[in-house]
């Protein structure tokens, strides 16, 4: 994986010093909260319901064991012994004190980590396919390109006060495991005539006006793709709306101009910037690529001896094909039945770090589904890994099932939320696990957001739930038919909302319709697409 050189290290250290100085000026009264807020947000520090919250960047979701151990240290030293992995592959600590935040950032810098641009109206942490470099279906490893974007976007002098936040995802396969088209820029690496290039999708996003990004350029030569990104950002910075926070994302600009007119603006700016020359030297990409060379894979058995039925279930649900036949990628579920989606204790982080050292070449990934992943596990090691996980309660065999719920922190933590998300996720996963239904239902992605900002990706859930405030009471709207994958679609609302018990009952009814109607090989989403909303509506609101 990527390692800092002295330049990278100096940059994060300069940022720590800068933030320490800004914090000092805030505490001394030289900065008002209004002046300080954008600065602290650009260092990932929010003020939430109960305390400050620090969001730490995990560039393209990749961590070394040492880095994960430092996250455990931060949890113990500055927080309350746990952290929350997010839908953008980052981690949040919920109980940070402002006066401690510079020290926490200084500790992170010792392991090449930071909280730079994890919030604020700037280019956020670059996300990526969590199987990058391991999946069998990639045309290239997307991580070097994500790293090049990370460096380009860090402290960008022109794009630090954008109309609104800006999120970029990079993938390199036909399968989309990063919700690429629901980002401000989604990049898919492609080859045309043997040459590598970048496909640019621009203007996707969730929030109160969900949109699927249209294709803006089918092929940007790879030695111009930073320039193209810069052109997109400049057009956005100049013309994105600033009169209304809810219309300020680039998706609104693309929508209001139309994809064609937007493309013309970007192409004109791109032609100009090619003349100016902003692309990093080609040798830089080669230098970065060298950091992502394969670990020393060893030959070994290419089959898995799944004697124990519990182990077999875990292998079936929680492992993913690796491009080396003797390896798999193994997913560690952070969704125990009745648990808090995405939360991990410091002890769990240390255990996963140790297992990564032992079984996965020192590497851990964070998935946007709020699970962890060991990318390179020898098939021969799987039984031992599974046993170690099972002993620690981390072997829930439920990936992509209805128990594998994405949920934002909701009203339990977040100052923007209107309703709680976590208790609903806990009750749903507990119920479906207890009845054994989740295994029968197969792949069923349920996603819960506690407000319209859609951090819980409810628009992209096969089943989505949105918490709203109805006259001071928590109320939940149900929607069906969303997907964040290559078959991307936005979910549709079923009808009037429910209280907590009501929405749980409605989810159960929806799953019953699916089980009654499904044809061989159909997932919930496939059945919904074939039979439409009506049968579900009837079951949910009928009798």
């Amino acid at each position: 994986m990527y390692r800092y050189d002295h330049y990278d290290q100096a940059m994060v250290e300069a940022r720590v010093a800068e933030f320490r100085d800004q914090t000092r000026r805030r505490l001394e009264g030289k900065l008002t909260e209004e002046q300080f807020k954008p600065l602290r947000l650009m260092n990932g520090l929010y003020l939430q319901l109960h305390a400050y919250m620090l969001r730490v960047a995990i560039p393209y979701g990749t961590l070394s064991s040492r880095q994960l151990e430092m996250l455990a240290t931060i949890a113990d030293k500055y927080d309350r012994g746990y952290g929350h992995f997010t839908t953008r592959q980052n981690i949040q600590f919920n109980w940070i004190r402002l006066e401690d935040a510079p020290d926490a950032l200084a500790d992170l810098a010792t392991v090449e980590m930071h909280a730079i641009q994890t919030s604020g109206n700037c280019i956020r942490n670059i996300s990526c396919d969590h199987f990058a470099g391991a999946a069998a279906d990639e045309i290239a490893d997307p991580r070097p390109y994500a790293e090049l974007l990370r460096q380009w976007s860090s402290f960008h002098p022109e794009f630090s006060y954008l109309p609104r936040k800006f999120k970029i995802a990079v993938i390199a396969s036909e399968r989309d495991r990063a919700a690429m088209r629901l980002h401000d820029i989604g990049i898919r690496l492609v080859t045309r005539g043997g040459a590598l290039g970048a496909q640019f999708y621009v203007g996707g996003g969730m929030g109160r006006t969900p949109m699927i990004a249209p294709l803006i350029r089918d092929f940007v030569p790879i030695d111009q793709f930073i320039t193209y990104a810069e052109a997109v950002l400049r057009v956005y910075n100049r013309y994105g709306r600033r009169d209304n926070k809810y219309k300020a994302r680039i998706k609104i600009l693309v929508h209001e101009l139309g994809a064609e007119a937007f493309r013309r603006e970007v192409e004109a700016e791109f032609a100009h910037l090619i003349e100016v020359g902003v692309e990093p030297p080609r040798a830089e990409l080669e230098r970065i690529k060298a950091h992502f060379a394969d670990p020393p894979f060893a030959e070994g058995p290419t089959t898995i001896d799944a004697g124990d039925p519990a182990f077999a279930r875990w292998v079936e649900r929680n492992t993913h094909a690796h491009r080396h036949p003797a390896y798999v990628s193994a997913i560690i579920s952070l969704k125990p039945a009745g648990g808090i989606p995405g939360d991990a204790s410091a002890a769990q982080m240390r255990l996963v770090a140790e297992l990564a050292r032992q079984y996965s070449f020192d590497e851990v990934r964070v998935m946007h589904t709020q699970n962890l992943l060991l990318p390179h596990v020898a098939k021969a090691d799987l039984p031992a890994l599974w046993q170690a996980l099972a002993r620690a309660g981390l072997a829930s065999a439920n990936i992509d099932t209805i128990e594998d719920i994405i949920a934002c922190p909701g009203l339990d933590y977040c100052s923007l939320a209107n309703a709680r998300s976590i208790p609903l996720a806990q009750r749903l996963s507990e119920r479906f696990a207890a009845t054994g239904r989740s295994a029968v239902l197969g792949e069923l992605k349920l996603k819960i957001s506690g407000c319209i900002n859609a951090c819980g990706h409810h628009h992209a859930g096969h089943i989505g739930i949105l918490g709203v405030d109805k006259k001071g009471r928590e109320n939940y709207q149900l929607s069906l038919g969303g997907s964040e994958a290559e078959d991307v679609s936005l979910a549709r609302i079923t009808g009037p909302g429910f209280d907590e018990d009501g929405v749980i009952a409605a989810v159960e009814k929806a799953t019953e319709v699916y089980l009654a109607e499904r044809k061989e090989g159909e997932r919930f989403l496939d059945t919904y697409r074939r039979i439409g909303m009506e049968p579900f509506k009837e079951a949910i609101y009928g009798g």
Binding site: L47, L49, H50, W95, P423, G472, E474
Partner: protein, 99 residues
Amino acid sequence: MRIITGNDLRTGAVVWWTGSGWSRFVDDAIDAGDAAEEIMAREEAARRVNVPYVCEASRDAQGHVRPAHIKDRVRALGPTVRRDLAVPTAARTGWDWVI
């Protein structure tokens, strides 16, 4: 009653205006009435509180101060899903109080 809440600038902890200072416990909150705006301006300028605001509340039958909005009741007690991390008064009010 109109009570004032905010977060401690240095630590971020939820605090409530007691008439003479700031408390971690919502039951210590007093009715600030028409003086609320003036108190908030003064306390924020002195950096004793960050982003203060007024919320409606009532005193319930048990004598607890109960904010009108669920968000402020969650703030008063702590996350409902981590009761081990609650502020100490949670034991007195119980968690049904939040919802």
